[in-house]
Structures are given as structure tokens and as C-alpha cells.
């Protein structure tokens, strides 16, 4: 009786550990992808700054970096960058979002007049958006190396159907989109956190 019992236990144990490892690999892969792809994207962006040509971060990529973004926060110690620099990809498809924050092509381009819209994942790149406040600054470097500084004017939570945040505006504006709430674990979010920023002159 006992040997077979022990074997069963071993089997169950092995199964549970394997399943656990599998899930860890899957979740970890997503996180690792989000983290390490940024280095490749950074390299492509540096190349773009040098020769003004779009460069793919990896040879089979469907996109290219279009901007570098930095969040700046005021506090007692002065102005500090919030997290490492982010490199923005062209086209907010699900695939691109896994590697970096992405520029929505329906909006204005980086540095163009109109509403520039960047979406990012709440569980990786745009996790830091939960710490931003109205008045904080966003630095956006275009692919030609030009810097535009934006100041956050509003944050709001909207339903996922509130597509009016994608509307084009006459004056320049930067709109950041990520899922809300930030601490929700599952992937299907119904609400979005919107950060609106206006250029500083």
C-alpha cells in the first residue's frame, strides 16, 4: 500500500511543481520581455538618432522606436526621474505593447501638432503612472532628437469605450493611456487611466 501511495504523492507533487514552474515561466517571460526588449529598442533608437532612419530593434520586428520618454517628479529632493527612460514604439498593437509603450498611429506623431497618444501596460512600463501627479513633467525626445517637455494637467479614469480621449485636438497635447486599477492582477481590464499633458513653452 505504502509504496504506491508514496508514488502517487510524488506524482502529485511533481505535477504541482511543474505547473507552478510553467506559470512562473509564462509570467516571467512577459515581464522579462517587457524589461529586456527596452535595451534592444534603446539601441535602435540611438541608431535612429545618428542616421535619422527608422531602425528595427530586432530583425523580425514589425515596428521601430519613435520616441524616448522620461517622467519627472517634484519632491523634497528636487526634480527626480521616475523610473528608467522608456522607449516608445510605433503602433499600439497588442504585440508592440508587450515590448514597450506604443504610439497610437491614429493620433498625431511625436512632435507633430495635435493629440499625441501613447499607450502602455500597467503591469510593466506604465506601472509608474500610478505615482504621477498633476504638475509633474514628461520629457519626450522625438526620433530627430528634439525635446518637448510636457506638464501633466489632468488624470482621469474612463471606461474602455470612452474613445473621445483619442480625439484630435487643435493644440498639441500628450495623452498617456494605461489600464486601471493598477493593482488588479488579471489581464482583462475594463477601465483606463488617462494622463493628459500640455506642452510647456
Amino acid at each position: 500500500m505504502k509504496p504506491s501511495n508514496t508514488t502517487t504523492h510524488l506524482w502529485i507533487m511533481a505535477l504541482i511543481i511543474l505547473l507552478g514552474l510553467g506559470l512562473i515561466v509564462q509570467g516571467g517571460y512577459m515581464q522579462a520581455k517587457a524589461h529586456f526588449a527596452q535595451f534592444l529598442i534603446e539601441r535602435a533608437f540611438e541608431q535612429t538618432l545618428v542616421d535619422n532612419q527608422p531602425h528595427k530593434p530586432w530583425s523580425w520586428a514589425d515596428t521601430h522606436p519613435v520616441a524616448k520618454m522620461r517622467l519627472l517628479q517634484h519632491n523634497a529632493q528636487g526634480t527626480q526621474a521616475l523610473g528608467p527612460d522608456l522607449y516608445v514604439l510605433a503602433g499600439a498593437s497588442g504585440r508592440n505593447l508587450a515590448f514597450g509603450p506604443s504610439l497610437m498611429l491614429a493620433g498625431a506623431g511625436v512632435g507633430e501638432q495635435g493629440n499625441t497618444i501613447i499607450a502602455g501596460h500597467r503591469d510593466s512600463h506604465f506601472m509608474r503612472l500610478q505615482y504621477v501627479n498633476v504638475g509633474d513633467m514628461i520629457e519626450l525626445y522625438s526620433a530627430t532628437g528634439e525635446l518637448q517637455v510636457y506638464q501633466i494637467t489632468a488624470t482621469q479614469v474612463v471606461h474602455e469605450t470612452a474613445t473621445e480621449v483619442l480625439d484630435q485636438t487643435e493644440n498639441s497635447q500628450l495623452t498617456l493611456i494605461t489600464c486601471y486599477p493598477f493593482d488588479q492582477l488579471s489581464g482583462n481590464a475594463e477601465y483606463r487611466y488617462i494622463v493628459e499633458a500640455k506642452p510647456m513653452v
Binding site: L10, A61, S102, A108, T163
Partner: protein, 719 residues
């Protein structure tokens, strides 16, 4: 031993049970805590107006709309009277967002205060806004008419007194639709609360905020509600078609009609709720169909206003002749033998950005397109991501064997990789037609390229160049797939490819839209259309690129000629590959009013179609100049009317009120097609569950090895 086994089994089971429960609890609480605190009721949807917002009652204005139309031949002059009614005891500023037909040239607005009529002046948009705001602050009554998008306008009134009304009367000019021998006109009466991302409409976000009557607050039986709420429309249409009518119907509204000779009058049976478009259709008696019609007007409808004192040069009267030409190409009999075969090249984007719903839709569209092929047709499928591959090196005939092959090919497509569109366009536009590719009657085949993509490309200018260089005799039809395709790129690519752009937003639309497109382009009647004078010079006509005409489609073109002398104009094109031309002598030219407005409007439409980030400021200037010159409400110009005397002593405290639009009939609130991008993954959930399971496994291992605290004791006592 046996006992131990049983006991331990029980303990183990209990242990697991606890563990699983606590694990579940962790996940559950995490999810629950995560649910948004501020937005608990999920009923709030886009465009719904809540009555109490920020502790302040939002006033809803009542609105009465009176529409009168004068149809003369193919022209329609429409006057819309909007009566803003204030039922409250306060002074109000009113605002109403309303739709007008896409081809409407809005050229006049009047503000009526009692018996007084103040004519609206055309001003650049910003200046008009300032004029209006100043009047509002000074307590003067004023009205402002603005274009928000191509077909959406707002009218605003300032300082509307308690229990008073103000009337804004606007007029527009349009042409009547004429297709398949059927005349029709449409007056839109509801705005669908759905957003189409269009780069050409860079408008203020606030301006388009349509307030809808919330169906959860007001029950659907609007007719039972007092006349103070809701938008009522009365309609009167006079039709002087120039011939006897065979039928005259309104599609969605009950109407009364009367006839007096060849003049028909149609009116609403009472007032109607503005929740669906008004569509009127009529048909001529057999044989009375016009083959060509020309209308002309000398000089402008509105002389240049506002500059009479500071600019003497503009006083010179415009002597140009504006004409409008409607031409029916000779109809081609469609018999079995006359059917022209076509070579259908289907191009599908299988790049990574298409993954998910988009590729599913695109594959379905391909299958429907293939299913619609006839046995005289040939076809090929081109797939591209960073590589381009084809179903077959040469186009295949539409035999059942080849169709089966194609269907298997379609099923195997997967979205992956980059987007290199240029080689695919080159491959699609390469003329694969054999010189002997003719049908039984020796007519050459058509070559049509259907391009399905989400248009996520960076090198647009280069692609436009490629298309215009390599088009040849092919026609390029673009089909936009997915929730947010780059429609600006696709619309312009289609215009350059002399085809059309179709947008498929939902999977349920795929079949209908693809079938519609394929049926429409089955039989082009007239291609390569051009206009010129007898001496070979080209008149100033719009639209400047005329797309192919298909069966029973008339050609509309607006022309501006420099002087009184109307030269004959030659319209040329190809019918079934043979040269065709027709001379327009303007002998049967009918004088009409408002032709200059249509000409200017056609030019503005063409200008805005080609607008992009680089040409934007220049196009805006051109549109503004045209708007000012022809007294038109455009994206850059607005009409504003201000009364002289201030009437409101407390203009600072005047409340802003909106007129609420009705939701289109049959539309479900909250059932929107488009959503913001999904910006979350379950990675953290997987990690949490993964680590929990791993911990569980390790604990189990330790338990088996009897290394858990407390276990050792049990072992010892047993031994």
C-alpha cells in the same frame, strides 16, 4: 502502517484543502480590492448626459426644428429653423450639436429675435468665437454656427431670456443623389455616438461632446412627454423635378403629399422626434430620365462681406460663370456576352500588427471575395509581412480546384513579422494581364487590386509615390481592417489608385461590406475621365481626379469659367477600352442659384482629402480663404450674428445649457464597437499562481520527507 497511511492521507487532504482555499482567497481578495472604487456603476457610457453633475443641475434646453426644402431639378436648397426655447426662470446660453448631410454647403445663418432679423457674418473660426464670447459677456444676444466635422455642426445662442425663444435660421445648398434611376435626399436627424478616428478633423474635444437624452432617465415613449422636452422636427419639401414622378416615398417617416401639375409637396404628418434620418426617394416616369443636365450661375451668391470699407479692390464684381454638370454615361447592356472578366488581385497584410481579431476578419473577407468570383474571372492572392509571397506566380482561373487551393492557402495564413508594404504593392500592380487576356467579344479585362490592411506603416509618402507610378490600368481598392486602422493612409491610397476605401469595423460586417464592394465594382462603365475645352486647355473643375463610374452612376462636376462666354467642354473617357467623348454645349443650360457654393464646397472637400501633417497649415489657409470668399461655414470659418443692444443685465451668471440629441433609433447604449487599446497582461497573476503552486509542491515534498515541524514528533511516538 496502514493507519499511518490513512491518517496521513487525511491530514494531507485537509492540508491541501486549506491551502487551496487560502490560495483562492488571496487571488479573490486581490481581484476584489482591485475593482475601481470611483466607477462602480457600469452604466456610465460615452455621450450619456447625467442630469446632476458636480452638484449643479444641467439645464436641458427644448428645441424645435423646422425644415423646409426646395428641390429644383437636381439641386436642393434647404432652410433649417432651430427654435431654442427656454422654459426656466433663468438666463441661459444654449448649445446644440446637430448633423447635416456631408455634401451640404452651409452659406447663411440668421438670428431672429422677435421680428428683428440679424444676418450672420462669415469670419475666421477663432475670430468668430471671440466675437461671440464678447457679445455673451456684454449681455448681447448672439448666435454662432460652427462646423465641427465634415458633417457635424454646432449652433450656439447667447443670453436667452427666461421663458423666451431665439430662432437660428441656417441655409445650405446640396445636390440630390441620383443612382440607378432613383433620386433621393437625406436629412440626418440623429448623431450616432461613435467615434471614427479621422486625422482630418483635428477639433476641440469639448466641441463634439454630444449630450444624449439618457434612455434610463427618460422612458422610450417620448411622445408622451411634454412638448418641452426632446427635439421635434417639422418638415416641408417642395419638389419641382422638371418631369412627372412615378413614385415618391419617405423611407422612415409618415408623410402627407400633394400634387399641383409637376410640383409636389411633401410634409410630415405632425411633428416627428429627431431620432432617425429622413430619407425621401422619387423616381421619374419611364423615359423621362435625364442623360445630362447643366446649371449655371454668373457671379457669387454672396458678395464679399465685411471688407467694404477698408478694401476697395474687392468691390470688383465677380463675373465668373459657375456651372454644375451632371452627366449620365451611356448605359452598357449587361448580357452574358458583355460581361467583362476581371483579374482580382487580393492582397492581405499578415504582419504582426494584424494579429488577433484583425487577421480573422481579413481572412473572412478573403473567403467572401473568392466565393464571389465568376468563371470568367482570374485571381491571385498576395500575402505580405516582411516577405511577400503569392498563391501562384501567375493569376489562376476561378475553377473549383483553384478555389479549393486558395481556401487552403487562406486558412494557413498567420499574422507574424514586420510590414514591408512596398514590395507587395509592386507585386500587386505589376501588369500580369496577358495581351490576349480578352473576353469572348475581344474586350480587355479589368484589373482590380483589393488591399486589406490596418495601414500601420511609417513610409506613407514613399508608398503614395509608388502607387501613382505603377498603377497603370489597375485600380486599387483599400479595405481597412480592425478597430483603429490608419484610415487616412488608406483613403488617400485608394484615391491615388482610382478606387474606393471600405472600412470594416466588426466581424458581422465583413460579408455585407465585401459583397457590396465586389458587386459595385463588377462593371465599370466609364474610366479615365477627363475634362477639357475645345482648344485643349483644362477648365477649373472639382473634384480634380474623377474616379471611375460604375453602372448607373452619374458624373457630377463643378466648373468655374472665367467669363460670360461659355465654351463647350469635352468630357472624355474609356468605355470598354474604347475612347469615348461627349461635347457639352451648354445649350440647355438652366440658370440656378448657389452653384458657386457647390463649386467651392467641392474644392474644399478635395483639399481636405489630401491634408496631412505637412500640408495642414497651408490647406487650412486655403480653406479659410475659400470660406471667406464664398461665405461658407468650413472647418476654418464660422458664421456669427450679434445683436446691437445688450439685454441681459446679469450676463456673468448666465448658465450654459445644452440641447440633448436623441440616440439613433434602435441603438443600444453601451454597445460600442471601438474600445481603447488593452493595456494589461496577466503576467503578475501567472507569477502569483505559479509561486503559490511551487510553494505548495515544496511543502508537499517536505511533508513526504517528514521534515515539517511537528511531523517528527508524530513519527517518534508511532515508532
Amino acid at each position: 502502517m496502514y493507519w499511518l497511511g490513512r491518517e496521513s492521507g487525511l491530514v494531507m487532504q485537509l492540508g491541501y484543502y486549506k491551502w487551496v482555499i487560502s490560495l483562492l482567497l488571496v487571488i479573490f481578495t486581490a481581484t476584489v480590492q482591485a475593482s475601481p472604487s470611483g466607477a462602480t456603476d457600469d452604466d456610465i457610457t460615452q455621450g450619456t448626459l447625467v442630469y446632476f453633475a458636480k452638484d449643479q443641475v444641467i439645464q436641458a434646453l427644448a428645441m424645435d426644428t423646422q425644415v423646409s426644402m426646395d428641390v429644383s431639378g437636381l439641386l436642393n436648397r434647404v432652410t433649417v429653423k432651430q427654435v431654442f426655447i427656454n422654459d426656466s426662470d433663468q438666463w441661459l446660453n444654449g448649445r446644440y450639436v446637430f448633423p447635416l448631410p456631408e455634401n451640404a454647403a452651409v452659406d447663411s445663418m440668421q438670428l431672429r429675435i422677435g421680428d428683428k432679423i440679424i444676418a450672420g457674418q462669415i469670419q475666421p473660426k477663432k475670430q468668430a468665437e471671440q466675437t461671440f464670447e464678447t457679445a455673451k459677456k456684454q449681455g448681447k444676444q448672439a448666435s454662432l454656427l460652427q462646423q465641427q466635422r465634415r458633417n457635424i455642426f454646432t449652433s450656439e445662442v447667447a443670453n436667452l431670456g427666461p421663458h423666451d425663444k431665439l430662432v437660428v435660421e441656417l441655409s445650405y445648398q446640396q445636390t440630390v443623389e441620383f443612382n440607378d434611376g432613383l433620386f433621393s435626399l437625406r436629412f440626418p436627424m440623429a448623431i450616432t455616438p461613435r467615434y471614427h478616428p479621422e486625422q482630418s478633423s483635428d477639433k476641440d474635444k469639448q466641441a463634439l461632446e454630444v449630450a444624449y437624452i439618457d434612455p434610463t432617465i427618460i422612458p422610450n415613449q417620448l411622445s408622451e412627454i411634454s412638448s418641452a422636452q426632446g427635439i421635434k422636427v417639422s418638415m416641408k419639401v417642395n419638389i419641382d423635378a422638371g418631369f412627372a414622378l412615378n413614385s415618391l416615398d419617405s423611407l422612415y417617416h409618415p408623410i402627407k403629399q400633394s400634387v399641383n401639375g409637376q410640383r409636389y409637396t411633401v410634409s410630415f404628418d405632425g411633428k416627428q422626434i429627431a431620432d432617425r434620418d429622413f430619407v425621401l426617394q422619387w423616381q421619374a416616369d419611364v423615359g423621362a430620365l435625364p442623360q445630362a443636365a447643366t446649371f449655371y450661375q454668373t457671379g457669387k451668391t454672396h458678395s464679399v462681406a465685411g471688407h467694404s470699407d477698408d478694401n476697395i479692390a474687392t468691390n470688383a464684381v465677380d463675373q465668373s460663370v459657375y456651372s454644375l454638370v451632371m452627366l449620365m454615361p451611356p448605359s452598357v447592356e449587361v448580357s452574358e456576352q458583355h460581361l467583362i472578366g476581371r483579374e482580382l488581385i487580393l492582397v492581405i497584410d499578415t504582419s504582426g500588427s494584424m494579429s488577433g481579431q484583425s487577421i480573422v476578419q481579413a481572412k473572412q473577407a478573403l473567403q467572401f471575395a473568392i466565393a464571389g468570383l465568376r468563371d470568367i474571372d482570374t485571381f491571385n492572392i498576395i500575402e505580405f509581412n516582411q516577405h511577400t509571397s503569392m498563391l501562384s506566380p501567375v493569376p489562376l482561373t476561378a475553377t473549383s480546384r483553384n478555389l479549393g487551393l486558395a481556401n487552403r492557402y487562406i486558412a494557413s495564413l498567420e499574422a507574424n513579422g514586420g510590414t514591408e508594404m512596398a514590395p507587395a504593392i509592386t507585386a500587386a500592380l505589376v501588369d500580369t494581364l496577358q495581351p490576349d487576356a480578352v473576353n469572348v467579344r475581344g474586350e480587355s479585362m479589368l484589373r482590380q487590386v483589393i488591399f486589406m490592411t490596418d495601414g500601420a506603416v511609417g513610409n506613407e509618402q514613399q508608398l503614395y509615390q509608388l502607387i501613382s507610378d505603377q498603377l497603370g490600368d489597375s485600380r486599387l481598392f483599400t479595405v481597412g481592417i480592425g478597430s483603429a486602422p490608419n484610415s487616412d493612409f488608406m483613403r488617400r491610397a485608394a484615391t491615388m489608385g482610382r478606387g474606393t476605401f471600405t472600412y470594416i469595423g466588426k466581424q458581422t460586417e465583413v460579408k455585407q461590406k465585401i459583397t457590396q464592394l465586389l458587386t459595385k465594382i463588377e462593371q465599370p462603365v466609364l474610366t479615365n475621365i477627363g475634362l477639357y475645352y475645345l482648344d485643349g486647355s483644362v477648365p477649373d473643375y472639382w473634384p480634380s481626379t474623377i474616379s471611375d463610374l460604375y453602372q448607373n452612376e452619374p458624373l457630377w462636376v463643378s466648373i468655374k469659367s472665367p467669363s460670360q462666354l461659355l465654351q463647350p467642354i469635352i468630357v472624355s473617357g474609356n468605355i470598354n477600352g474604347q475612347y469615348w467623348q461627349q461635347q457639352l454645349d451648354f445649350t440647355d443650360n438652366q440658370p440656378a442659384r448657389g452653384i458657386d457654393l457647390l463649386w467651392a464646397n467641392a474644392q474644399i472637400t478635395a483639399l481636405e482629402l489630401y491634408k496631412n501633417a505637412a500640408s495642414g497649415p497651408r490647406v487650412n489657409k486655403q480653406v479659410e480663404a475659400l470660406g471667406m470668399q464664398y461665405h461658407l461655414v468650413t472647418s476654418q470659418t464660422s458664421l456669427v450674428a450679434v445683436d446691437v443692444t445688450p439685454v441681459n443685465p446679469m450676463s456673468d451668471t448666465t448658465i450654459d445649457a445644452k440641447v440633448q440629441s436623441h440616440l439613433p433609433h434602435g441603438l443600444q447604449v453601451g454597445n460600442q464597437a471601438q474600445v481603447l487599446p488593452q493595456t494589461a497582461t496577466s503576467s503578475r497573476l501567472w507569477l502569483l499562481i505559479g509561486f503559490s503552486l511551487l510553494g505548495l509542491g515544496i511543502l508537499h515534498y517536505l511533508w513526504l520527507r517528514q521534515r515539517l515541524p511537528g511531523q517528527v514528533l508524530v513519527l517518534e511516538t508511532n515508532a
